[in-house]
Symmetry: C2
Subunit: 699 residues, 2 copies
């Protein structure tokens, strides 16, 4: 996959130049200096030779097949260059040139035209407006990004060329090897999705690192990310998480879901390790590239000083992991090897004068201890400390069964040790806190890898019934569905709704009331009356026929007064519900990732505390349970102070049903069930109120 881009037989640079400082020059020089062993051809209108390589006025003049073409000519010449490249048999094209989508509509149109052409001709395209790409395992530096890094196992794609150069520069200063690096630019053809799939399947790549500003296609992204994450860790920094204005949203769910919520949910579900800051990209990637995954969250700390050991223990606890203690037998054995003043608790304190052997003994003990999942080794530069020898001792003792992360704290004194650590594939961090951050990322990824198989339940539902309501409502342009219609749809998907019926006259209301039984609620049904209660359109606790008559007549009077011209369909007469816990279930459709489900407890929990959880549909039972557990108010579901708990699984089932409904019907833009009344175990929850908004059918 993407063979012609990463492993071409031959490369041409269209727009190669003899003038240093020009992109076409740097590009060509990089290609040569990178050590690419196949034919390298310069295309330049006037030169006959550039840097010792033959130059031709055109690919046609060159006359032979070319596998990869890198284009660095002015924007107006790009389209012709692409045609020439395809004619020359190119399997891959990189357009370095800028002046396309990022500039104006004309640029966007030209970009699309070129991309469509490439797609038709089955040629893969990187860019335009990018730095190019590097592949250390084919000695290919098809970029103007500077020097070729050493061969490593971390591959990178970046939507920002500048960030790409910063990463390459930082990797160079840390002697960190890289595998494949792609600047994806405007993503006219090749996007993050292609690279996730390609790098996910790439044997040379152990970790994928990405920087993204937006995502081209949410569904494809989630699928590709999940596929890649199943193979290897994918660490992504996504910027633009807080900016941009508020979305207009009609539902609770829509209002509560921030700009970043859907990205967060999508990343989490697809196993992506999210970096929140630039340096985390490196912190995490090096840990993943160099060390095995932990199977649990018990971290053992080895240190030659108390203070930093305590700092590390603080960090472990704050990260929600566990400060491990050695098994008693292991501790007893280790004690024999350490001075009396040393501590074999956690942290293991090998003391300020610790020689390398003491570190080795502690590490060996921790590695064989079944109570320990991960090991953090801290060294401070004290009088007797031998940093490089200690690094070697750690490297030699390391078995590779459990992750070992290191923090050599300091500067000048520990520097020689750092080099030894890097050489031995031991990730080293300036502070214990950053090492713990990397361990946490490893642990969470490990948990994701070992998650139970996803089984999305399909309930038996009346899909056709919902289809009819939605189609009809869209046709007449009534996108805001009434409570009654919303409930009818939910009923078709297995939700229990209170008994009720629409009455269009006083006497019909009485008739329905007598049939259903008291106490009753009566609610006006009108597409023009949204806030029914505020306008006198709701009456509760109706106990007899007289009250039904009064309520009906009064409601008609009031609504006609207060909303002149309102289209009134009638009054809905509905059985009152038993008390229970009030819950909100909702869905708002993210433009990228589709239906996003929400759970929260009603009233102040949502309105004041914003204590809600989100998950993308489709959802499994386990995932629905995790949503509930992710809220602080989960304790209310379990029961509190003598109150009995509610049927928690019934709430999870409700989420699954909404998941199915909103996956089946992309026409539903937003949905709130508020409140969903949930009672004790065995009692079926009931939809007390609901609203839905449909998308405009033209969309």
């Amino acid at each position: 996959m993407l063979e012609s881009l990463f492993y071409p037989d031959s490369v041409a640079v269209i727009g190669a130049s003899r003038s240093p400082g020009k992109v076409g020059h740097d590009l060509f020089a990089n290609l040569i200096q990178g050590g690419f062993t196949g034919p390298i051809v310069a295309i330049n209108p006037t030169a006959s030779e550039i840097m010792g390589h033959p130059s031709y006025p055109s690919l046609k003049a060159y006359g032979q097949q070319i596998d990869l073409c890198v284009i660095a000519v002015p924007q107006p010449l790009v389209e012709q260059a692409v045609h020439d490249a395809v004619d020359a048999g190119a399997g891959g094209i990189i357009i370095i040139s800028a002046g396309f989508k990022e500039v104006d509509a004309a640029g966007a149109a030209l970009e699309k035209k070129i991309a469509d052409f490439c797609r038709r001709r089955q040629v893969r395209l990187v860019g335009p407006n990018c730095l190019g790409l590097l592949n250390t395992s084919s000695q290919l530096n098809a970029s103007f990004a500077g020097n070729m890094p050493a061969v490593g196992s971390i591959s990178i794609f970046s939507q920002s060329g500048a960030l790409c150069t910063a990463i390459l520069d930082l990797a160079a200063s840390r002697h960190l090897g890289l595998q494949k690096v792609v600047s994806i630019g405007n993503k006219a053809d090749i996007s993050e999705v292609d690279l996730l799939l390609a790098l996910g399947g790439d044997q040379q790549t152990k970790v994928i690192v990405g920087y993204l500003e937006d995502i081209t296609n949410g569904d494809e992204f989630v699928k590709a990310a999940e596929e890649a994450s199943t193979q290897k860790p994918v660490v992504i920094l996504k910027s633009g998480t807080t900016m941009a204005g508020q979305k207009a949203a009609a539902s609770h769910t829509g209002v509560l879901a921030g700009l970043d919520t859907a990205y967060g949910a999508a990343f989490k579900q697809s196993g992506i390790v999210r970096a929140d800051a630039f340096e985390q990209l490196f912190d995490y990637a090096t840990a993943f590239a160099m060390q095995p995954l932990p199977v649990g969250n018990r971290v053992l700390i080895i240190t030659n000083a108390g203070g930093p050991g305590t700092m590390a223990a603080d960090a472990v606890e704050k990260a929600g992991m566990v400060v491990a203690e050695l098994d008693r037998n292991v501790a007893t054995a280790l004690r024999q090897e350490l001075p009396a003043a040393a501590s074999v608790g956690n942290p293991i304190d090998v003391l300020g004068d610790a020689p390398p052997a003491r570190y080795a003994a502690a590490l060996a003990a921790a590695q064989k201890d079944p109570e320990v999942d991960a090991i953090l080794v801290i060294l401070t530069p004290q009088a007797m400390t031998k940093a490089p020898e200690t690094a070697r001792a750690i490297a030699q003792t390391m078995t590779g069964d459990k992750p070992v992360l290191v923090s050599f704290m300091g500067g000048v004194e520990v520097m020689p040790g750092r080099a030894e650590l890097a050489a031995a594939s031991l990730p080293d961090y300036e502070s214990p806190e950053r090492a713990v951050g990397a361990l946490k990322a490893m642990y969470e990824y490990s948990m994701w890898r070992n998650r139970p198989p996803r089984v999305v339940n399909r309930f038996r539902v009346h899909r056709r019934r919902v289809e009819r309501i939605i189609t009809r409502s869209q046709r007449i342009g009534r996108l805001q569905l009434s409570e009654v219609k919303s409930k009818t749809i939910l009923k078709a998907y297995g939700f229990k709704i209170p008994r009720g019926q629409l009455a269009i006259s006083t006497e019909e209301a009485v008739e329905i009331a007598e049939r259903i039984g008291y106490p009753l609620a009566m609610k006006i049904v009108s597409p023009d009356v949204i806030h029914k209660s505020d306008l006198g359109g709701v009456k509760l606790d109706i106990a007899n026929a007289d009250q039904v008559r009064d309520a009906f007549d009064l409601m008609m009077l009031r609504i006609r007064e207060r909303v002149p011209g309102a289209r009134i369909e009638g009054v809905y007469v509905e059985k009152m519900l038993d008390r229970g816990l009030e819950i909100i279930l909702g869905m708002s459709r993210d433009p990228q990732f589709g239906p996003m489900l929400m759970f929260g407890l009603g009233g102040i929990f949502v309105e004041v505390m914003k204590d809600v959880a989100f998950h993308l549909a489709p959802i499994t039972f386990d995932e629905a349970m995790q949503m509930l557990l992710a809220t602080r108010s989960y304790a209310m579901l379990e029961g509190k102070r003598g109150n009995k708990g509610v049927d928690i699984e019934a709430v999870a089932a409700g989420l699954q049903r909404i998941s199915q409904l909103t996956t089946d019907f992309p026409q539903i833009a937003e949905l709130d069930i508020n409140p969903f009344i949930v009672g004790e175990m065995g009692s079926e929850p009931v939809v007390a109120d609901a609203r839905m908004t449909l998308r405009s059918p033209v969309e």
Copy 2:
């Protein structure tokens, strides 16, 4: 202050040694190499000369006055060495030797004896069990910590010697100058309090950095920290924030206040800039040392690449600061100086090919713009980027009126620029996120510096009445005060409590009831019945005399059955309260920092959501208002969905009254008012229930 320690006329090392690797050797060598210009005397039993300096068998043999004595002899010889030093006229002593409090009780006793002796003789003591101290402004390296740093304006004290060496080593590798560095060891005499005061008043010190594991005296610490913070920023990393078991606590407040809560409150109140991780110590200290404080939170970003600019903007928003935009006129003027494709929005994008002049133009504009409080300059290494020249241009343009922080992202390419930045006092960060973290610390400290003057109200109260109840209860060993007694105390401090009286017979209960009026509550009063409701000891909504009789008799019967042998004082007959918002006010006394006040909304807000705020007493009105605002449930006080808001200032006043009560009476260990019923503006809140625990008087 501490003159003999930081600026001695002469220094002796008792235990100086000729054997490299020995502490007494390294210490003496450091002293000489540090360049100290006064007499340096070695005290060694056998040598006549060490490293070219005269050595004497004892201070007495030397025979002249010595200002500072550094002691590095085995523990059993330390006491005699201290006596010798004092006899030689030392004003300051540093005990490097270990083997004291950190080892066992005998060591602790000896340490105390030595410290007491020094105190009596008015000699100041650093250590024991420490690295020593350094003062670059007197060329004094009285430590075995390694090389002397360059002269700078950051002073450091550390409770961990190892962390001290790590900091010194890191400073060396970053070419960061330091001022005074003190390893405080066991803190037998000189502690963080002395150093906060000394360094706070030190003209050479611009920033104080501290690492602490515990605090010797909470009250003194807060006073000293506040005094120092008023002079200059104090950045402290405190470890041990999450460990240690749960405290046993009888009150809600005590249970909700975690181990770290009091430290957090004390740090915040005294203006301390808290570092949560090792690298923040440096990140913050360099920003404070090099740049002026911002007067507001509007951050302008200048960048040569979109991606990192967006990352920075994300970080600014996440930190609760504001992404500033240039004033329209300033932006228009700047646009003339930049290419058409550049953006003068925020971030200001000077484009990938930006020469130094473009950065200078943008910085100049931002500096003169009144809409901008702080400036973050980002540089990525692109093809045309000149890192050192850009650094110089920034340095030359910088006026010093507003903080300018820089992030040169990358490694090899930007390294020469970093050196230029450091030379020009421009703090440079590896990532925009870390620069924003430092800006936030600066902004928060600046706000603290400009906080309004603190005025603690003193209410007129009946202090003697409370004194009597407390003294009497302590005398009879009744430390858990009853609801009635607790309410009586609160009434004496101006709280409104419901009308009520204790009845010891059925008929007395009826008589009281008829006087107070219905509806009533009746509650058993017994020191042996804590959970009154659960045991049938509370009856509410009593409407008439018959019900009073029934309730009294039944309560007596039930309690005698259920708590055999309970001492029953009677039944409290109390007026039922109107409904209102239920609030919890509380106090739990921290062993270090004294009375810590708590505010939260009752019921699920506290029990499920843990939505509470803390503050140390004494508290001002403004601080009490800030406590309320710090909770999410504050919205409930303001009123929600048509409910009227409550009298918020009355809640703040309640906190101030508790503050006064618990400051006046250190005997009160814990206190809960739960619930405090608060109604609309103008209505006086009422204490519906309360409990207090006294300290045992032997304490």
